[in-house]
């Protein structure tokens, strides 16, 4: 990542090159604005009140997403407001994507059928383990497997596109200003076995 020293070096070089100042001014301005770190997450989801799901369904979704992506040494679905994001997208799709809304209603109904909504923490964890079996075991089936997959897909997207998932968990380095590209210098990568 570009440091203040390299930015100053670039500014000196820019001044010495006729015609380059305009472009470099843009470059430097943007680089100074971005070089420190990824910006904070906007407040949208922090204050968001669920509008699509009933309070009962939302509580179940929040519990489910938290089991799929728990908080451990890095943030989880709860810190990333994954359930809020899913509700926000579904509510926004009113009038545009009724099929998506119906798919989620069916998924939550299937989940309720399993007893997930009413179960305690241990019971919910056991139910998720059962629902996810077809993912790992050939021939295994579960009536709520489609609901599990739908929630997992959207939860995964919501989490890894959040700051908590992208930056704080995966340590994504892109979308930044850099003076050079880090070349591979590993001898073991220059040959194949």
């Amino acid at each position: 990542m570009t440091t203040r020293r390299t930015l100053l070096d670039l500014a000196v070089r820019a001044a010495a090159l006729p015609g380059a100042a305009e472009f470099f001014n843009v470059w430097l301005h943007a680089a100074q604005a971005h070089h420190s770190s990824a910006p904070p997450e906007p407040p949208l989801l922090r204050s968001y009140k669920p509008r699509f799901f009933s309070s009962e369904d939302f509580a179940a979704l929040q519990a489910f997403t938290g089991i799929l992506i728990p908080t451990d040494e890095t943030p989880g679905a709860r810190e990333a407001h994954c359930a809020h994001y899913i509700d926000f997208v579904l509510d926004s799709s009113t009038g545009y994507a009724p099929e998506m809304q119906n798919q989620w209603r069916a998924a939550m109904a299937a989940l309720k059928q399993t007893g997930f909504h009413a179960a305690g923490k241990a019971g919910q964890e056991k139910l998720v383990a059962e629902m996810s079996r077809p993912e790992r075991e050939n021939g295994a089936t579960h009536p709520a497997y489609a609901a599990y997959r739908l929630i997992k897909q959207q939860n995964t997207f919501a989490f890894y596109t959040s700051r908590a998932g992208m930056i704080e968990t995966l340590d994504y380095r892109g979308n930044s200003y850099n003076e050079t590209f880090p070349a591979c210098t590993h001898p073991e990568h220059q040959v194949v076995d």
Binding site: V26, W27, L68, T74, D171, N178, P182, C184
Partner: protein, 535 residues
Amino acid sequence: MELSKAGMKVLMLEAGSAVNPAKDFRHTFLYQMDYRGLGKPGLLRRYSGAERNYRIMLDNEENPYTTAPGTNYHWLRSRVLGGRVLHWSRATDRMADYEFKAASRDGWGMDWAVTYADMKPYYDRVESFIGVSASRDGFPQFPDGPFLPPMPLNCAESIFQAAAKSLSWPVTHRRLAQLTRMHNNRPPCHYCGNCINGCDVGAMFNTVAVTLPPALKTGNLEVRTDSVVARVRMNAENRAQGVTYIERYTQKSVDVDAKYVILAGSTLENTRLMLLSAKGGLANSSGALGRYMMDQVSGGGVSGFLPKLKGGPSRLDDGKSAGITIPNFQNIDKKTERKDFIRGYVMNATGGQTEYPYFASSLPGYGSEWKKEVKSRYVAQARVWIAGAEMLARKENFVELDPEVKDHWGIPVLKIHFTHHDNDRKLIADFQEKAETLFRKAGGEILGAPESGGGTRRRHVLGGSIHEVGTARMSANPRDGVLNSFCRTHDIPNLYVFGGNAFPSTGDKHPTLTMMALAARGCDRLLEQAKGNRV
């Protein structure tokens, strides 16, 4: 730029709006957007592109097109000053004589009316001006140019390079119109990886940042944006008199006259204008206008992981949005001739960290162990994809005006007739086999999606790439094509067509550099004509 710098007064009409890269293009993280880059549900049915870049794409409701029964073709378009070079992949490869003269070798289609020797000075000129970062490797099928230093390879690319070498395949860095050092007063790439959303500093070639500023500086160029050209007007002497355009927002019709008319509004839009401008099409004595539509064949590919990289540290792997290239090595001469198909393809490979871990939801499991596994594999992602495979030119692939559908301005739209030849499918099947060979040689592990039954291969869906060419092919003989070798129409001496229209075949290289070189060559001829007052 060439014309205005030579002293010609030029009026440029652009159907879309103007953009200012320094102000309009930003580094935006997915989490900074309400819909994480996908846009509000339903709206992306209307706009091409995604939440970050839809403004430099196109409104599909204003600009419809239709397809014939049996046609599966997705036409990706852009209507904005600068057009598709604002968000292109920057691949800048020269075509070679085995492509220009392919018909003489295998009997399919028609040779180009230019050779590599004709094109080389213009490839040199374009590359010198725009700046191309690449490695000079001396592959005859992948001609070198006056390159800037190549972009360094990341770890996954190094592994793929080693794998390709061990298979005795040619391999090089992807050749990109993206600066690795200061060039023509433009700053180098800052490796943000955001190229397809528009470059904020002009480090990647695009006309708004690179060719328009010097052209405007001459004082000879006037740009009118939001001006939708509806037709070319002719005079009684079989000359193009000028064009009629419609002001995008007022719907007012405006006529402008010119000594020369150049159509350069993208391949199929150029052809649409020629079809709109005369019964049976303008400059169509050959009957080839609209015919021989092609688009490089794409599909297939392999994605997965390189175990050597699992669990490694985060690195800026996608900061250059690049990779390695494996030039075509089949059907380039007698020695490499294949019995089962003609022509060939170029492969690319890259890997490492990406903005979003697309594999994650396909990875079985959940919980903390799953999170750790996602992170471990995140830096070890890898993929092999097809850069371009040659699609055979066939007369039955064509565009025409749809008699029933009009755009927002009441202008008839194109109807596309487009199917694939068995040779196209054979090329993709061969690519798939080679891609998997490369992946295995690199030690790669392939992950399939649970929904697809855990399959290891991507689907071979053929149906449109983003390299549409043809529909007004060049020919030495006016009976065989619409344009001459300088992209001037055979029939109308002051009408030029720049874009991919002239291509008699797709070749296996990305087409943009060749389009630019043909335009530079055409401009030279136009200036010669103007000096000699031959028109």
